[in-house]
Amino acid sequence: MDKEIKELFASVIGIKIDDLNDESTPKNTNNWDSLNHLVLIAAFEDAFEIDIEPEEIAFMFKSFCNFKSVVEQKLVNG
């Protein structure tokens, strides 16, 4: 799942998968700005058929670790 999340994330914002890790943040990751963050949310909602709440969207904009944890949690909880 980690790989799948990374692949989708990297492809949406046009970066290499190797440039992404748990310490990645909008500040140290190319193209991860506030607008592209919403493009990411849209892509993940559609790809994994999940709904992401406004508070989660803000939390996910802190780091890739946060982003991944919300997606994983939703997939586990169905």
Partner: protein, 134 residues
């Protein structure tokens, strides 16, 4: 839906007001106002034929449109005035829109409720303002 205003991001709100008022002939409807919910400076102007433009100056990097400003700013969103506020939010969510910020009171718009959504189809932000709070 009826357009209420167009949101326009600037890096300096005084210069923005000067440009729209003194060069383009807009009328200043609301002076520079600080919005604590977004941490931005705002002003509202209207063109000669009554199109409203909301100027937005992000205060710092914690402001939501800061990176947009860094990339040049300009046209940021359309704001639509709706009478069935909650119903419109639900309907748009069912039509490929993401609610990315819950409704808040907008100090520039006499504390009427506003909300921001993101269209998955054209990857743009829209704002709704509640007409019932007019």
């Amino acid at each position: 839906m009826k357009i209420h205003h167009i949101g326009y991001v600037v890096c300096n709100i005084e210069q923005g007001i000067e440009l729209f008022r003194d060069t383009y002939g807009y009328k200043l409807l609301k002076e520079k106002t600080y919005d604590p919910t977004q941490h931005v400076w705002l002003a509202l102007l209207a063109s000669e034929n009554n199109y409203r433009v909301e100027l937005i100056q992000p205060c710092d990097e914690t402001s939501p449109s800061f990176d947009f400003m860094q990339k040049g700013g300009g046209l940021h969103h359309f704001c639509y005035e709706v009478s069935d506020f909650e119903e419109t939010i639900k309907a748009l969510k069912n039509k490929d829109h993401i609610l990315f910020k819950r409704p808040v009171e907008a100090v520039l718009l006499d504390n009427r409720q506003v909300v921001f959504l993101f269209s998955k189809k054209d990857r743009k932000i829209i704002e709704l303002v509640d007409k019932s709070g007019e």
